[in-house]
Symmetry: C2
Subunit: 238 residues, 2 copies
Amino acid sequence: MTDLSGIRALTFDVFGTTVDWCGGVAREAAAMLGPKGHALDWVAFANRWRREYQPAMEAVRSGKRDYVVMDVLHREMLDMALDEFGVKDVSNAEKDELALAWRRLDPWPDTVVGMERLKRKYTLAALSNGNIALIVAMAKRGKLPWDVVLGADLVRTYKPMPALYDSAPLLLDLKPEQIMMVACHAWDLDHAAKRGLRTAYVRRPDEYGPGAALKAPAEGAYDLQAGSFVELADRLGA
Amino acid sequence: MTDLSGIRALTFDVFGTTVDWCGGVAREAAAMLGPKGHALDWVAFANRWRREYQPAMEAVRSGKRDYVVMDVLHREMLDMALDEFGVKDVSNAEKDELALAWRRLDPWPDTVVGMERLKRKYTLAALSNGNIALIVAMAKRGKLPWDVVLGADLVRTYKPMPALYDSAPLLLDLKPEQIMMVACHAWDLDHAAKRGLRTAYVRRPDEYGPGAALKAPAEGAYDLQAGSFVELADRLGA
């Protein structure tokens, strides 16, 4: 097993790993669209909205369009989801408001208690494709005790571009191997590892909604695997 | 009086305003140099070290040299201070360690209690000439509850360049007038106001050591004046 005693900072993926985007977006969509008489499968709607996430970022990563913050991408992606679900009676102001549902996501039940323990031993950094304003608003609401928020707007591209992962050792004045990336997505960890970061896989089986099938990584993949932030704290002796 | 009800975030100067650099640097210098037999006026030494602060930053601001982080400037400035005080028996490793004294500064007695109150109502951002690693290390040690740390390394120049002040509304997704700059230095607030930020002057009479003479701003200058972060919280209804 890798020696993890040199770890000084943990960088966290946010959407899915730290907060429940599916449950939060489903709740916010139901709260706005339900009173208008829509009775959608809200979890399916949230997943449809999220499905545009990678293509939207890819346009920026590939240079096809200039960088825009995730709030803007969320707003654009919403148009596609509403269109596909046949929802037409939503004003632009309402869409703007609903797009910020992604700032109002709840942490998983183990998130804050695990972070409070980890914070005593490590610097806790958000390392997210979200922009700083989005991640900070979410943290204020959910009481996420970040030491520092590193958003994609600092480097003006999106994970898994190397610039995101490289921004953590640069801005935290640490060596890559002193940083552990925490995420529930293999692609995120695989790219973090390529930039020299340690990796912790946290299982979030309900990320796409209760009971959605998820492929777990092989045993021994990543420096560490845990079922929650509390188990992560246990495993790291925090 | 200016209507301050629209304020959503407070951006804080750190050195002097939030933490006591003079006392902390004097303490750290005494701890390292005292055992070597040096009996300097430690407060004078701290002030001599700090005196290189503006010239060092000016070289970056003017474009005479490329941006380097404040940790590096502190290290260079230390050489000049040691030289002037005739201190020669310090190894490079010891100088590197002493230069990081600026990461180990204590908050003023009212700082954390005031911030905890203000944090319930506002987003609290460090807006410092310090680099993120420096400000985060200091915050961990002194338990400063920042919501977000905006360091000079994000824009790669130094206050009072407009880019620093402009980074706050940009990264926090707010209008300049929704942000209040909190500082104990007139030059910082004057330039923040030019970029549209609201301003709060906090008196720190002991910034340069107990009893150092300070010129207080005129009554009515700035949107608000306070004698501590606790009084700032009182005045803002937080």
